[in-house]
Symmetry: C2
């Protein structure tokens, strides 16, 4: 999606360790007009599919998913919560997600009553790199018996394996910007 690529080129900051900072418009300050354009684009890409609900994960996915939902008939958005509690509550789906960026493991929960067997969902998130967060959400979807119609990502790091693996497993992954390479010294970003 050209608008997103342009914005990443303009405001994205490349750091050592494959870090792309986009907090100017995506995940600290939110450009709501851009979110709206992203939602419209996912609606086009997933057109014809039944979507009952959008699943995302705190924190940065929430605003993107809520604005995007308006392009899917304002279906409910459920966000998985990161928690430190290890309390085993039977009313929650629960999994562990490793964050390579933050070098830690989160417990992630979704209340069972918000994912009902047979519902059709798309998953939306800001970044896809190794795919750890998405794999955790997909585990929860499997356990809940919901149908995953697709995965909408703002920025995919195409030089990391998450997206490729998910597509090989048969998921429709729609990343609005795929970064092929980026250079922390020059700041150059090459898109797929």
């Amino acid at each position: 999606m050209k608008e997103l690529e342009d914005r990443i080129r303009k405001d994205g900051i490349v750091r050592e360790g494959n870090v792309l900072k986009v907090d100017n418009f995506l995940n600290h300050q939110c450009d709501v007009s851009l979110y709206d354009q992203m939602g419209a684009e996912w609606a086009r890409l997933f057109e014809g599919k039944r979507i009952d609900k959008i699943l995302t994960i705190e924190t940065s996915g929430i605003g993107i998913a809520c604005v995007a939902s308006q392009h899917f008939g304002s279906v409910p958005v459920v966000f998985a919560r990161k928690t430190e509690s290890t309390n085993l509550d039977g009313e929650q789906y629960r999994t562990e997600i490793r964050s390579f960026t933050k070098n830690r493991v989160y417990n992630v929960i979704v209340a069972k009553r918000f994912l009902n067997p047979g519902e059709h969902v798309i998953i939306i998130d800001d970044f896809l790199a190794m795919g750890c967060a998405l794999n955790g959400l997909l585990e929860i979807c499997d356990e809940a018996g919901v149908v995953v119609e697709g995965i909408g990502i703002a920025i995919e790091k195409g030089f990391q394996p998450g997206g490729k693996e998910l597509r090989e497993r048969g998921y429709q992954v729609e990343s609005l910007a795929i970064v092929d390479s980026m250079d922390p010294e020059t700041g150059d970003i090459v898109f797929a």
Copy 2:
């Protein structure tokens, strides 16, 4: 706001310790249509004011603020981040916020470049009870030199002092539902 009060009566769950669970529509599963109605109502209540930016705090404020922003010309939404790091980075405003619900203290940060002196902001959040989160955000606003045009809250616990204190300090606090009392035994909720 009648739609919100009706929804709280229908789906809110009252628990011991002044807890009102609204995760069915406000802060785990998000009713985006309701968020949109809430945004329209805040736009009416703050009509005529210059609003350059909306400030909120993760997690539950983000979706509400992003959808509401569309009723304020899609101004940027900045969300304060809760962090465990005590790293003193000169590029961030930083304060501590006590959560009575969770019985802990958070470090809360906002990157300085996202709040510019002279900007006019409203603060939006899901709950107002003791006012700890808002007082922290207001400290950051003071330090940043931004003009706080008002505070938009979804649910205020009117039996706790946060809202009263903020109004006494001169802030325009617009809570869309003010709970006067609630009873964990009967589940009854009385609105102001």
